[in-house]
C-alpha cells in the first residue's frame, strides 16, 4: 500500500504506516481520526458497519496522543494514534453497548472490558461500536436488531457474521483496525467474505472480561485488519494474561510481529503445511475450492512441504457446536431479565399493566430477543434438561475431545493446517435468512478450531472466479502456536503481493458517495 499522506489517502494506509507517520509527526492522530470519521460519514449510510460512532471521544483521544508526542514522550504503543472499530459486544464505559440486541438498547456500561482498557492504554483511538448478529449469533449480521450490515464488495450481499460490522468497516476503509470476537468463526468467516484479515487467538489468549458472553467455553476476542502485520501488531496489544478472566492463559502476549517479519523474509521454507481432508470438496463452492488450490500452489512455491491430514471426527463438529453453544448461551443470556438494566416490558399490547416480575421477565425476553437468539435459548434449554444432558451436552463435550485428538495427531505431521475459511463467498442478504440449517453450514470449516481452542486466522486467498468475490484461506496453528500461524499468513500474503502486485483489500470497490 502506498504511503502518500494527503488526507483523502489516510484511510487507505495500513495501521503500521499510520502509526509511524503519527509517531514521526508527519501527520497528527487528529488528522488521521478525522479522515476516518469523514469516511464513515461518507459511506456508512450504505455499509452500516457502525451502531455508534464516538466522534468527540475519538478526537479527544487522538488529541491526547498528539499532545503526548508534542511533549516529546515516547508513543504509548507501536499503534498509538491509530483508529479502531470496536465490535459492539465489548463493553466500553459510558458508550452505548447493545450486542446488536433490543434488550440492551440504550445501556451505558459503568465499566471497561480489559480489551478496551488495553486499547486505550495503547493510545489506540476507538472510533465507535460495530454491528453484529444479535449476541453474536449468526454468520451474516442479518440478525442484528438494528438492521444488517452490507458487504462493501457488493452492497446487496452479507459481510459475514457475527462480526460483519468490524469486517465491513475494514473493507470499506472506515478503519484500519478492528476488534472481533470468534465463537465458531465470527472473526474468520467475515474476514473471508470481505477480503480482510482476522485472527482468533488460542482460547484464553485474550481476556474475555467485559466481552458479553455467548458461549463461554468457545468465545475468543481477536484482532482484525487489512494486512497480516497490522493484525499481528493489534494482537500484541490485546493479548496476555488477565487475572479477571479465570480462563486466561498465564503468559505474556506471543511475539507475533516477529513471526510476521520472519514470514516476510524467510517465507515458509522447510515448514510442513497440512491440508485437512475433511475441510473441502462437498459443500464447498467451486470458486472457493479453486482459490484454495491456488493458495496451496503459492505456498508450495514458497517452499512449504504440503501434507494431507485426516481428521475423521471433524464431520461431527457442527453437531457438537450446535449443542454446546446453545446450552451455554441459554445460561449466559439468563441475566437479561429486565430487573437491573436494559429493556423492561411492563405493559401488554392492550396497554394493561403486567402484574408480576416473572411475567415481566418473560414478556421482556420474548419481545427483546430476536428469533435466532430465542431459537438457540430454547435449543440449549432442551439440551441441558434432565434426561437429555448426557445424550446432548455430555456427548457434545466428548466429541470435542475427539476433535482435539484429531488436531493433536494432525500436528504431529504438520506445523500448521490450512483450509478454506468459508465454504462459500458472500451470499445475498435474505438468501438464507429463513433456513437456520443452511446458515449454520457457513461455519463448517471454522468450528473444529473453535471446539479445540486452537489459534486460527483467515487471510485473503484471492477472488473467486465464479462470483468475483473475495475468498479466505484459513491457517490453523496448534494450541499456543500463534507464531507459526502468523509466519505462514505473512509469507502467503507476501507471496500473493509479489504474484499479483496488489493485495485483495485494495481491490474493493470505492463506494458511492466516497470522497
Amino acid at each position: 500500500m502506498s504511503a502518500v499522506s494527503t488526507t483523502s489517502d489516510l484511510t487507505r494506509q495500513t495501521a503500521a504506516e499510520l502509526a509511524s507517520a503519527i509517531a514521526s509527526r508527519e501527520v497528527s492522530a487528529v488528522e488521521v481520526t478525522r479522515a476516518h470519521l469523514d469516511r464513515i460519514d461518507a459511506v456508512d449510510t450504505d455499509v452500516h458497519a457502525f451502531l455508534h460512532v464516538s466522534g468527540e471521544k475519538a478526537l479527544a483521544a487522538a488529541a491526547a496522543v498528539d499532545e503526548s508526542l508534542q511533549r516529546g514522550e515516547a508513543p504509548a504503543s507501536p499503534l498509538a494514534g491509530v483508529p479502531l472499530a470496536l465490535k459492539d459486544i465489548v463493553v466500553q464505559q459510558g458508550v452505548p453497548t447493545t450486542a446488536g440486541s433490543k434488550i440492551l438498547e440504550g445501556w451505558l456500561p459503568p465499566y471497561d472490558a480489559t480489551v478496551t482498557q488495553r486499547l486505550v492504554a495503547a493510545g489506540i483511538v476507538i472510533l465507535g461500536k460495530t454491528n453484529l448478529d444479535e449476541f453474536a449469533m449468526g454468520s451474516s449480521t442479518e440478525n442484528s436488531a438494528y438492521g444488517p450490515t452490507r458487504n462493501p464488495w457488493d452492497l446487496t450481499r452479507i459481510p459475514g457474521g457475527s462480526g460483519g460490522g468490524s469486517a465491513a468497516a475494514l473493507a470499506a476503509f472506515e478503519a484500519p483496525l478492528a476488534i472481533g470476537t470468534d465463537t465458531g468463526g465470527s472473526i474468520r468467516q467475515p474476514a473471508s467474505v470481505t477480503g480482510t484479515v482476522g485472527a482468533k487467538p488460542t482460547y484464553g489468549g485474550v481476556s474475555r472480561y467485559g466481552v458479553i458472553a455467548l458461549a463461554s467455553s468457545l468465545d475468543q476476542v481477536g484482532p482484525c485488519a487489512r494486512t497480516v502485520l497490522d493484525t499481528a501488531m493489534l494482537h500484541e496489544v490485546i493479548a496476555g494474561h488477565d487475572p479477571r478472566d479465570s480462563t486466561s492463559i498465564p503468559q505474556p502476549a506471543p511475539k507475533v510481529v516477529d513471526a510476521v517479519r520472519r514470514g516476510q523474509t524467510d517465507g515458509v521454507a522447510g515448514m510442513r503445511i497440512g491440508i485437512v481432508k475433511q475441510l473441502g470438496g462437498d459443500g464447498y463452492q467451486a470458486g472457493v475450492s479453486e482459490s484454495f488450490a491456488k493458495a496451496v500452489a503459492t505456498l508450495t512455491a514458497a517452499g512449504a512441504e504440503i501434507v494431507e491430514v485426516d481428521c475423521p471426527h471433524f464431520e461431527y463438529g457442527l453437531a457438537a457446536y450446535y449443542l454446546i453453544l446453545p446450552s451455554e448461551c441459554s445460561s449466559n443470556l439468563a441475566r437479561f431479565d429486565a430487573m437491573r438494566y436494559g429493556l423492561r416490558v411492563e405493559k401488554r399490547p392492550d396497554g394493561t399493566l403486567i402484574e408480576s416480575a416473572e411475567q415481566v421477565m418473560a414478556a421482556t425476553r420474548g419481545q427483546g430477543f430476536g428469533a435466532e437468539v430465542k431459537r438457540r435459548i430454547m435449543l440449549g434449554t432442551y439440551a441441558l434438561s434432565a434426561g437429555y444432558y448426557d445424550a446432548y451436552y455430555g456427548s457434545a463435550q466428548k466429541v470435542r475431545t475427539l476433535i482435539r485428538q484429531d488436531f493433536e495427531r494432525a500436528y504431529e505431521q504438520a506445523d500448521v493446517l490450512i483450509s478454506p475459511s468459508s465454504p462459500v463467498t458472500a451470499f445475498a442478504i435474505g438468501e438464507k435468512a429463513d433456513d437456520p440449517m443452511a446458515m449454520y453450514l457457513n461455519d463448517l470449516a471454522t468450528i473444529p478450531g473453535s471446539l479445540a481452542g486452537i489459534p486460527a486466522m483467515s487471510v485473503p486467498s484471492g477472488i473467486a472466479s465464479d462470483t468475483g468475490l473475495p475468498v479466505g484461506l484459513q491457517i490453523m496453528g496448534p494450541a499456543l502456536g500463534e507464531l507459526p500461524m502468523y509466519r505462514v499468513a505473512a509469507a502467503f500474503e507476501a507471496a500473493y503481493l509479489a504474484e499479483h502486485g496488489t493485495l485483495v483489500p485494495d481491490l474493493a470497490p470505492a463506494l458511492e458517495g466516497a470522497p
Partner: protein
C-alpha cells in the same frame, strides 16, 4: 408432578397428633441442610466486601450485579474454609471438583443461575458426633459439603401481610449476592425415634460450635449467617420405604429447629392417620406459633439444567496442602470440653451448666489467671451468672475480665476479703469502678485484721449483752454467734468472723 397431583385427592390437612402418640406409630426420617456464610473479607466470585448491614447496593460490582461481560474469579480463602469444614466433618476431600451452574430464574439472583457445585462437591462422606446433652453421643452421617454463593435480599412492599403474597412490588439489595456459602447436607437421619427434634437441635448446635472453633464463620443464626432447612418424613413402624418428605426452610434458631421438627412429626402423623398423604413441598416455620406453614409445592418439573461453569477452571486441592490443613485443625469443641471437665474435676451437671452458660472459655481463662477451677466455676456459674441474667446479657458481655475474677478469688483465699466483701468488689468492677484494688480502696472494703480494734468491738458487744455473755460463760457456745453477729455489724462486715469468734471466747475465758 406425581407426588403433587397424587396428593391433591386425599386429605392434606388434619388434626395434629400428640408427639408421643405419633412416635408410637411412626419412625421419623430427617435430612438437615445447613447453609453457612463464610467469614471471608470478600465475596465468593468478586472483590466486593462480604459485610452485613451496609447501605443497600453499596457492596456491588459488575460481577455480583451480573452486568453483561463480567466474569467470576474464585476466592482462595473460601476454598480453604470449605476444605477445613470438610476435614473437620471427617469428609473425603475431592481430588478434583468443579463449579456448576444451577439454572433458575429469581430476581434476587442477578445471573439467574447460582454458581454452585453439583456432582463434584469439594467434600463428601463424613460424619459429626453429636452430644445429645445427657452424655449420649449420636453420629450424624454427612452426605456432602459444597461451595456456592448467596442471593441478594428482596423486600416485599405493600399488601396486607408485607410478606411475599399480596405485595405490590419488591425492592432488591444485592449486597449479599455472591457472599460465599458452604452447604452441608446430612444423609437421612434414622433411628432417632422420640429424640429426632433433640438430635436436629443438637446437630445444628454442634455444627455451630465447630464452625466457630474453625473460625470460618460468625454463625449468627439471627443474621442468617447460619441457616437450617429441615427435611422430615415419617414411615410407619412396619414400612420399608421412606415416606414423602417436607422441607421446612430457613429455621433461624436452635430452638426453632427442635420445634419445627416436633411440629412436622405431629402434623404429618395427623394427616397420615386421617388416611391422607403428605405433599412434597417447602414449608415455612413461624417463630410465633411454633408451627410450619404450607409453602411452594415442589414440582418434579423443576429442572435446574446443571452444567459445569465454563468461566471457571477445576479445583484440584493439593494433597500436601490438605494434609497441612488437617494437621492444623483446632481441637474440636466436644473433645476439648471432655478434656477440661477431666482436668477440672467437674461433675457432668456442673460441666453442662457451664457449657449452657457459654462459660467454658471464661473459666479456662480465669484458671489460667491463677484461680482454682472451683473458684472460677462458682463465680461464673453462680454470682456472675445471676448478674448477667439481671442485665439480660451473656457472661462474656459482662464488663469484667477473667483476670479480675482471679484476682478477687486470690484475695479471698488469703483472707484479705471474705465472701460478702468479695461480692461487693465484683459489683464494683461491674459498676465500672476499676480494678478490684481500686474498688477495695475506694469503698474501704479490706477485712479488719487489727486485733486491738476488734477487741474493743468485742468488749462493747459483750458489755451490751451481759445475759448472752453469761450464757457463753456457762458453756452455751451456740450463743457466740449472736456476739459475732453484733461485732460484724459494728465493723460493717469488714471483720474476719473466725477471728472475732476466737476473741469472744478468749475474752470470756472459755475453751472453743
Amino acid at each position: 408432578m406425581n407426588d403433587h397431583t397424587a396428593a391433591t385427592s386425599p386429605p392434606v390437612e388434619a388434626e395434629l397428633i400428640d408427639f408421643d402418640e405419633a412416635l408410637e406409630l411412626f419412625d421419623p426420617v430427617m435430612g438437615l441442610e445447613v447453609h453457612v456464610e463464610l467469614g471471608t473479607a470478600t465475596k465468593m466470585f468478586c472483590g466486593c466486601p462480604n459485610a452485613f448491614g451496609a447501605a443497600p447496593n453499596t457492596n456491588v460490582c459488575p460481577v455480583c450485579l451480573a452486568l453483561p461481560g463480567a466474569m467470576p474469579t474464585v476466592n482462595a480463602q473460601a476454598v480453604e474454609y470449605a476444605t477445613l469444614i470438610g476435614l473437620a466433618l471427617n469428609c473425603e476431600i475431592a481430588q478434583l471438583c468443579r463449579f456448576s451452574r444451577k439454572n433458575y430464574f429469581y430476581p434476587d439472583m442477578p445471573k439467574n443461575f447460582q454458581t454452585s457445585q453439583y456432582d463434584e462437591p469439594i467434600a463428601s462422606n463424613g460424619h459429626l458426633d453429636v452430644d445429645l446433652g445427657d452424655g449420649e453421643i449420636f453420629r450424624v452421617e454427612i452426605e456432602r459439603a459444597h461451595m456456592e454463593e448467596d442471593t441478594g435480599k428482596s423486600t416485599h412492599v405493600g399488601g396486607l401481610t408485607g410478606r411475599i403474597h399480596g405485595a405490590e412490588y419488591s425492592l432488591l439489595d444485592y449486597n449479599r449476592a455472591g457472599v460465599p456459602l458452604v452447604e452441608i447436607v446430612t444423609k437421612p437421619i434414622v433411628g432417632t425415634g422420640k429424640s429426632a427434634p433433640v438430635v436436629a437441635r443438637a446437630y445444628v448446635a454442634a455444627l455451630r460450635d465447630l464452625l466457630l472453633t474453625l473460625g470460618v464463620s460468625d454463625v449468627r443464626m439471627d443474621q442468617g449467617s447460619l441457616r437450617c432447612d429441615v427435611n422430615l418424613s415419617l414411615m410407619r413402624k412396619d414400612a420399608t420405604e421412606f415416606g414423602t418428605r417436607t422441607e421446612t426452610k430457613n429455621v433461624n434458631s436452635l430452638r426453632s429447629v427442635e420445634r419445627a421438627a416436633r411440629h412436622e412429626i405431629s402434623r404429618q402423623a395427623g394427616i397420615l392417620e386421617a388416611g391422607g398423604s403428605i405433599v412434597l413441598e417447602t414449608r415455612h416455620f413461624d417463630e410465633a406459633t411454633g408451627e410450619t406453614g404450607s409453602g411452594r409445592p415442589k414440582e418434579t418439573a423443576e429442572d435446574y439444567r446443571y452444567f459445569p461453569e465454563p468461566d471457571l477452571v477445576p479445583v484440584v486441592p493439593d494433597r500436601e496442602w490438605v494434609e497441612t490443613l488437617r494437621a492444623g485443625l483446632p481441637e474440636l469443641p466436644w473433645l476439648r470440653r471432655a478434656r477440661l471437665q477431666q482436668d477440672w474435676g467437674f461433675t457432668d451437671l456442673e460441666m453442662r451448666d457451664l457449657v449452657a452458660a457459654d462459660g467454658v472459655v471464661l473459666v479456662e481463662q480465669t484458671v489460667a489467671a491463677g484461680a482454682t477451677p472451683g473458684e472460677a466455676r462458682s463465680w461464673w456459674n453462680a454470682y456472675l451468672g445471676q448478674r448477667a441474667n439481671e442485665r439480660g446479657v451473656t457472661l462474656t458481655e459482662l464488663p469484667i475480665t477473667p483476670e479480675q475474677v482471679a484476682a478477687v478469688s486470690a484475695l479471698v483465699r488469703d483472707g484479705a476479703l471474705n465472701a460478702k466483701l468479695a461480692r461487693q468488689v465484683i459489683d464494683g468492677v461491674l459498676a465500672g469502678e476499676g480494678e478490684p484494688q481500686d474498688v477495695i480502696a475506694a469503698r474501704g472494703l479490706a477485712v479488719v485484721s487489727d486485733d486491738a480494734a476488734l477487741q474493743t468491738a468485742v468488749d462493747e458487744a459483750l458489755a451490751a449483752q451481759p445475759a448472752i455473755a453469761e450464757k457463753i460463760r456457762s458453756g452455751k457456745l451456740q450463743a457466740v454467734g449472736a456476739v459475732v453477729g453484733a461485732v460484724m455489724k459494728a465493723t460493717r462486715g469488714q471483720a474476719d468472723a473466725g477471728r472475732v469468734r476466737e476473741l469472744v471466747l478468749s475474752t470470756l475465758g472459755v475453751e472453743g
